[in-house]
């Protein structure tokens, strides 16, 4: 399960409903133009807040950029990512990782959190020396 963070839900509502002047659509705050990132957490993210981000050698704070552009949604279809390749994190932190959730953010210095969800089978335990890999197009994001 996953969902929209509160901030992104408000962005969508405000930009698609008459919250602007004289009943016009509200303004949309553009996201950073860089490649979006996947952030991994050791606790569950919620609509209100990120989970606790992984730390240690092998994990870059803020997350890892996706390798390429996903196929755009059409007729309400879901979008899958990471597209164009898998993402891997080699744990050399000296201790075990316990991965519970992920967030999808933009690439801003202070990122905008766009989606969040738990990993199936969480917590995923990654011993020191092991590598965690998300397969290409394994994450499916949709509005149903």
């Amino acid at each position: 399960m996953g969902a929209l963070p509160q901030g992104m839900a408000s962005q969508i509502l405000n930009a698609t409903l008459p919250t602007g002047a004289v009943g016009a659509p509200g303004a949309w705050t553009a996201l950073n133009a860089g490649a979006m990132k996947i952030r991994l957490n050791s606790t569950a993210s919620t609509a209100a807040a990120y989970g606790t981000e992984l730390t240690g050698t092998g994990y870059t704070a803020g997350g890892t950029a996706v390798p390429g552009a996903s196929t755009a949604s059409a007729a309400g279809s879901s979008v899958t990512l990471p597209h164009g390749g898998s993402l891997s994190w080699a744990n050399t932190s000296g201790s075990q990782w316990s991965i519970v959730s992920l967030d999808i953010t933009d690439a801003a210095v202070t990122p905008v959190r766009c989606w969040f969800g738990n990993l199936t089978g969480q917590p995923v335990l990654v011993a020191n020396g092991n590598t965690f890999q998300i397969a290409a197009d394994a994450i499916s994001v949709g509005l149903s």
Binding site: A3, I104, G121, V124, Q133, A135, A138, S140, L143, S144
Partner: protein, 52 residues
């Protein structure tokens, strides 16, 4: 001597895997990682169907 080690391929349909340092898969999931939001407005509007 050539390095003949081969990284074990990702199982069919796997969404995530954990590999040991030799590339062997020690855990994986074939369940989709779904981040989905239900459009509640559509459900609310549909709730009046059939009422007299």
């Amino acid at each position: 001597m050539a390095d003949m080690s081969v990284i074990e391929p990702v199982p069919e349909g796997a969404t995530w895997v954990v590999r040991d340092p030799e590339g062997r898969i020690v855990a994986f999931s074939a369940e989709p990682i779904r981040l989905e939001m239900t459009t509640q407005l559509g459900e609310a509007l549909g709730g009046t169907e059939g009422e007299e």
